[in-house]
Amino acid sequence: MNIVQVLVNSLITSAELGLIAIGLSMTFSILRFANFAHVESAVLGAYLVYLFNVTLGWNFALSILVSTLILGTVGLALHRFIFRRFANSGDITPMIASLGLAITIRHGIQAIWGPQHVVYDYEVLPGNKIFGAFITDPQIWILITAVSAMVGFHCLLQYTRIGTAMRATAANVDLAQACSIDTQKVILLVWFIGTGFAALGGILIGWDTQVDPYLGFNLVIPIFCVVLIGGVGSVYGAIIGSLIVGFAQNFGLAFNYAPLINLFGLLDLGDRFDLPAAYKPAITYMAVVLILLIRPTGIIRKEVS
């Protein structure tokens, strides 16, 4: 496969994963539980765009905007009506509750839209040929959208008071509270932005390929993988983690393992051995297992002050 193609695919996967992972990493750190339902917000966001864009025939950009905002609000509602009450009940109870929520959303989607995949309504054009790789217009738009969302978020974090408060809270809630930061306000904002970004990530996946009700499950481990690599609570870590996972997923398949295996003299496989495409998810599963065994606190642990 063309190397530029793999590179572009990796970047797109990373952008999608990164947007979704940011919110999970922050809630994981601040609220101290693993929200298994987080990825389902991404899927729900993607389906809402389908509803607006295809079923109701709205403008595509408008559909994306509205869907993202709705999911942000849904995040607030989830906090208000479900997760807020778990403030003092440890990490296990809210985690199991989030599992229940994930099952509810996933199968709710299936009950409404059916088990088949759906695609959005936009004109399919032949891709642009860049360095021998085919890159479609939507893919370019996806990258632009993701990068601008992240840059916007970066500016919020770096140049506003509330952004500083968010970074401080995500890094260490107790310390932030002790420094009289209004953590309640921060938590609400984290839910809003985190869930909204997740929706945006899901929408981009839908735009890039398609959405089906099982998308959430296929995402859950890769997203945790991103968060664990980046370090729980680190926004920039999540972005770097998503690049690593995105590249590993795409290059892992494009890589010829034969020389490596022959080098160790394990087996003689001839001169070409690719990982079968069916094992693509295995790359992240293996990564999660190894990361947790080696360094449960995350690979890139960069404290933000």
């Binding site: 539980f33 693993a34 479900i82 009450r85 778990f86 009940s89 990490d91 296990i92 109870t93 809210p94 985690m95 199991i96 509750a97 599992l99 229940g100 929520l101 994930a102 099952i103 509810t104 959303i105 996933r106 199968h107 709710g108 299936q110 009950a111 059916g114 088990p115 009700p213 499950f217 859950v220 481990i221 945790f224 664990l228 079968p276 069916a278 094992y279 998810p281 295995a282 992240t284 599963y285 293996m286 999660v288 297992v289 947790l292 065994l293 449960p296």
Partner: protein, 289 residues
């Protein structure tokens, strides 16, 4: 009428099998605090072991024992990854491990015919009776474990490693034993599962199965065998009962199937929100003073 009795027996058997899987999970989660999100893998591996052994012409009872041994071994391997990891992290790890194993069964045709799955062409006499008696036996064993010094120590481990370590308990060994027993019971359930359905495929090991088993445990009541069994029966009734709903109300089967899971999800959520200890909570052991 005969059909109805047959269906009744089938139901009882299925419920018993899931009760075993749920009690096995409860030993790990409810007693020892091991958040196993890959519980279904014991069932799947146990079922596959029986299928492969049966196809190799091994005696059915030996197949069951093999299943238990293989799943117990898997439990040991899984326990080696626990180390001193927090519950959440090991939950994610066990989920990944279970999916990895399922992926291997799905893709390796030489191992168990990949996605096609395997047929199990053996039976044992008085199958349903055997399952029921085995379930009762499992209940008895787990009850004894819970009351034993071993059970006391793993309940201490549930609250954290540090105190039991200070008291000289080899925490990892206790976790290993817990996972081995949990695995063996899960493997037994899996073996029966294969014998009951005469078939096993990677689809039987989907993560959603794990979460159904979790629902049985948390809805019924972690740390209470009666609660777990009640939870299993309750969820089973919910599943089977809703199947008959199509006869009563005009609802499409394609919509009903996911709605059942929505109900399960809501149940898990509701219980965690309003009664986190489950419908029949763990009971305190009171000694006379």
């Amino acid at each position: 009428m005969e059909q109805l009795i047959g269906f009744g027996i089938y139901l009882v058997t299925v419920t018993c099998i899931f009760a075993m899987l749920a009690m096995s999970l409860d030993l790990q989660v409810g007693a020892c605090g091991l958040m196993n999100f890959g519980q279904v893998v014991f069932m799947m591996v146990g079922a596959y072991a029986t299928a492969i052994a049966a196809n190799a012409g091994i005696n059915p009872y030996a197949c069951i024992v093999i299943s238990m041994a293989v799943a117990a071994l898997l439990g040991v391997v899984m326990s080696l990854t626990v180390k001193n990891m927090g519950g959440t992290y090991w939950g994610i790890l066990s989920l990944s491990m279970a999916e990895l194993i399922r992926l291997v069964f799905l893709n390796e045709r030489w191992l168990a015919d990949g996605a096609n799955g395997l047929s199990v062409l053996i039976t044992i006499p008085y199958f349903s009776l055997t399952v029921v008696v085995s379930t009762l036996f499992v209940i008895l064993i787990l009850r004894v474990i819970w009351l034993s010094p071993f059970g006391r120590v793993i309940r201490m481990i549930r609250e954290g490693d540090r105190l039991p370590l200070a008291l000289g308990k080899n925490v990892l060994l206790f976790k290993l034993e817990t996972m081995a027993i949990g695995g063996a019971i899960g493997g037994l359930g899996g073996s029966f599962y294969a014998l009951l359905n005469s078939y096993i495929s990677p689809d039987d090991g989907l993560p959603i199965e794990t979460f159904i088993i979790w629902a049985m445990v948390v809805v019924g009541g972690r740390g209470n065998l009666l609660g777990v069994v009640a939870g299993t029966v309750f969820i089973q009734i919910l599943f089977v009962g809703s199947r008959f709903l199509t006869h009563i109300v005009d609802i499409d089967a394609g919509v009903l199937a996911p709605l059942r899971f929505v109900l399960i999800g809501l149940l898990i959520m509701g219980v965690m929100m309003f009664r986190p200890q489950g419908l029949i909570p763990e009971r305190k052991r009171v000694y006379r003073i």
